[in-house]
């Protein structure tokens, strides 16, 4: 397999370009990604500012939540998180990146997260999640373009 960042072209027949993440400063990208992740915790979960979803997901993002059908488009995704966070009284989400793989102009991230929730009249619970996110840059921000997760560790 031809290696990313080695010059020449990718196996999909397209020449590698400056936009390919394998040729970019991964440290800077990771910082930008951390900002996006922090927004999800502090704004969406912490303040229930669902408009912040616009800075987290791409316009035509897709999420694949367990127990539901795939959700397409940022507005629909905003509705999904509005319902879930309110119905479970979710308080926070802590994310931990386990693996990050350059993927053309994007990145594929494997990670785990812990969601803290306090459903009505129930004690606080923590839920272990593992996830895969396909990241893309949009409007100068690194955002989630495909997001799938499942429960249990």
């Amino acid at each position: 397999m031809r290696k990313l960042g080695s010059g020449g072209s990718s196996v999909t027949g397209v020449p590698l370009r400056a936009m390919d993440t394998a040729t970019m400063d991964l440290g800077a990208i990771k910082q930008a990604m951390a900002k996006t992740n922090e927004l999800f915790n502090s704004e969406v979960f912490g303040k229930r500012n669902f408009a912040a979803i616009g800075q987290i997901y791409t316009t035509d993002a897709r999420i694949l939540p367990p127990g539901r059908l795939m959700v397409f488009g940022r507005l629909e995704i905003e509705g999904f998180w509005f319902d879930i966070i309110r119905s479970y009284n979710a308080k926070s989400i802590a994310r931990q990146s386990l693996d990050l793989m350059p993927a053309g102009e994007g990145l594929v991230e494997v990670g785990r997260s812990v969601i803290t929730a306090e459903p009505a009249e129930q004690p606080e619970v923590q839920v272990d999640i593992k996830y895969v996110v396909f990241w893309k840059q949009e409007d100068g921000l690194w955002k989630w373009h495909v997001h799938i997760w499942n429960q249990s560790w």
Partner: protein
């Protein structure tokens, strides 16, 4: 990424072959060695309700255990969205699993998945595989 249509059609054909192997060989014939042609050597799977598993040998153990314990019969995979990404492809898909656990009637399970594909030894294989159930 602006992969040409011809490139993408060729890649999709190769992906379809890999997906078909998973159904016919691994589920249909319980030929778990066929997983060598499906997963990259250092692949990762993230199954629902179980810890992540890395490396093809460990992944073989996972599928061998699961398929035999639930007496799985078939896994029909269908690509929903294919996104070329430099050296790889991100695929969103759906799968219909048919199982017949001992003492139970045959049942079907709707699954959706994301696979990050990479080429290894001239084959398009699954490098990261995560899925969950629709219900």
């Amino acid at each position: 990424m602006d992969t040409t249509n011809a490139d993408l059609i060729a890649i999709k054909q190769k992906m379809a072959k890999t997906n078909d192997l998973f159904n016919t060989e691994v589920f249909g014939k319980r030929n778990f060695d066929a997983l060598d042609q499906i997963y990259t050597t250092d692949a990762h799977i993230l199954p629902p309700g179980a810890p992540p598993t890395s490396g093809r040998q460990a992944i073989k153990g996972f599928w061998s255990g699961l398929i035999q314990s639930v007496n799985a019969k078939s896994a029909v995979l269908e690509s929903v969205k294919v996104m070329p990404t430099g050296d790889g492809v991100v695929e969103i898909g759906k799968a219909l699993l048919t199982i017949e656990p001992p003492g139970q009637a045959q049942s079907q399970i709707d699954v959706k998945y994301v696979v990050f594909w990479r080429e290894e030894d001239g084959r398009w294989k699954w490098h990261v595989d995560i899925w969950n159930m629709n219900a």
